[in-house]
Symmetry: C2
Subunit: 418 residues, 2 copies
Amino acid sequence: MPLSGAVLELGRRAKAASRVLATTGTDAKNAALMAAADLLVASRADLLAANAEDLEVAAADGMEAGPLDRLRLTDARIDSMANGLRTVANLADPVGEVLDGWTRPNGLQMQRVRVPLGVVAIIYENRPNVTSDAFGLCLKSGNAALLRGSATALRSNLAIAEVLREGLEKTGLPQDALIVVADPSHEVAAEVMQLVDHVDALIPRGGPALIQSIRDNATVPVIIDGDGNCHVYVDEHADLDQALAIVINAKTQRTSVCNAAESLVIHDAIADQFLPIVANALVEKGVVLVGDVGARRRSAHIAPATEDDFGREFLDLKMSVAVVASLGDAIAHVNQYGTGHTEAIVTRDLAAARRFTNEVDAAAVAVNASTRFTDGEEFGFGAEIGISTQKLHARGPMGLRELTTYKYLIWGEGQVRG
Amino acid sequence: MPLSGAVLELGRRAKAASRVLATTGTDAKNAALMAAADLLVASRADLLAANAEDLEVAAADGMEAGPLDRLRLTDARIDSMANGLRTVANLADPVGEVLDGWTRPNGLQMQRVRVPLGVVAIIYENRPNVTSDAFGLCLKSGNAALLRGSATALRSNLAIAEVLREGLEKTGLPQDALIVVADPSHEVAAEVMQLVDHVDALIPRGGPALIQSIRDNATVPVIIDGDGNCHVYVDEHADLDQALAIVINAKTQRTSVCNAAESLVIHDAIADQFLPIVANALVEKGVVLVGDVGARRRSAHIAPATEDDFGREFLDLKMSVAVVASLGDAIAHVNQYGTGHTEAIVTRDLAAARRFTNEVDAAAVAVNASTRFTDGEEFGFGAEIGISTQKLHARGPMGLRELTTYKYLIWGEGQVRG
């Protein structure tokens, strides 16, 4: 499909801005972030007015309460956006780090230096705060941000972008360091996914439909921020009080997030003792349980699970339960049904912990801790742009470092190849 | 497009083998590599016989001399394949390296550990030695290799794979650590590009047609091993003897490779002096020159260049020449026409070298050295699987390290999220 001139032009503008940002110093980037934060707060009334229009149209179109709430800007949420930019300004600048270096026998001195990706495109859904959050992380890591939010949030996103771009201009940085795509059509979104000469990385933030559209359409390099079908495996050598607390936390502390647990796997040797306790506790928290024969034998609270249940990210008060005969079976179950996000084992046995961490194939493997810790803030990254479930480039929470690449510098004195 | 059962089954087998390889120790991998190397040499007659069939069919089909030569196995090439495996066996194992680690305020101990990618698919063209080379790098880095070579080399590739798989079996590793796709149809190649549940990274090794097919069809994560439209910029402060040697080397030492220079950029201030000398020397080496007005004014050897010429990877004794008014113009020219592979500056001026290395956007930027050094061997990686021209995951020469990813380990004592 040939790209339309309008989208190509956005790509060109973003790429041109990225060339400037690549060599912009930390102080200048921080000044722009702080100015943008102040302007967000000062422009509160305009932002709320634009958002009110989005909300009105969305409500008239029958948007449900959950999405409507995510779309809503409030004083507190505007403050939070501004504070997010200030937080990012205070994080260390990843650009320019010398990752390694060495000298070759012919005298060439090699350096591998961290540099920005260039243009980062982000396609996201209904939350206007992503416009500001993504801008902040991209700018601090030296990248131009090409953002395409949902049609429902377009007025809000454009209003936020106008303010942020004013912050860039006031501090002498190119306004095109942030471009919000103003045409909310799916055709334009598909074109953004194909800007191979201008977009260095595309990060989709959304559900399975968006991910599928990316797989179908994208020709630019993509970092998939995918589902989390996270398991907690309670080993035969688990501390059962710890296991109970971890399972309840992982499943119920917040259900709508990708690092919530969706599946409980229990070793047969402790299932008689532990399964009724954990099932009762989960049911008390409102969790609907489905399970295999071994699980249902131990608790009347558990309905039969389909094959699909074990592979599903419920994002709800629902959990699948499986009983396994061995640690090996637990690992096989987790690797079969997991999505490579976060998997936890509860055990006091060192050998079991080591085998589980070695053999489970996931971005994060937790020992005696809740799956809910897989998160940029909890990892100490300060902020995150998403959580990668692919293995290429970045895995797990993505902070500033994951928005960079590197280049090699080769310093010679006239060397040629023989 | 739904995938056919046959290709899915290959994906499943490769994924199952990758689970075993992920925890296979260095000694076992090295033993398999050494056994496979010995078997290649011992199976010389079988390999040459299979290759003779490929050659016969290819010649009958009118294959040209160049591709026919790349398809050909010889005693020396079989020895070279075997020695390649032995070399890889002697390289350090990248798997298990702890990249970093820290402790969170809540006591969680974090580790980021290097692990294999899993299943690496490689689609390549006419050279049977890639079957062995790719296998060696994938195995040493703990990955299963799913290889799809060209139809013309199918008998050779299958014969080589049979020998390598025998080496795996003899040393107790899963044979499916190496799978060569036996159906050479384009439909099957397209399906390999879509094994999203089984292929963790796809590396195409081939020309623009293959890259385009990857962009059109691939839904798995891809590392593009793309074109190299490499420039040598001769600055006004260059040592002109050094510049001459570097230009001649970069252009003519080997023309068919991606790190050969395709474009010469000369600062106006030295063009009167340097351009006639370098043009004469290049013409003497058989190079056809095309250039802009400023270049043609200085040498009668230079024909007019089209816009297309400046963006083209000739892979031949042909070179474009541009004269620029400033270092900034040189950088702009390189960033406009370059493919992000390797760009070189020749200068004695520190500020010019620093600005060029900072502002040029390429995998490798060389100062006073030939572009021909961007190569896994020349970088000291021991071997390479290709040279990435994208920014995601790996940039420049890709050795064993670039065939790995990482996972986070989270060690707790019952922590839950508040």
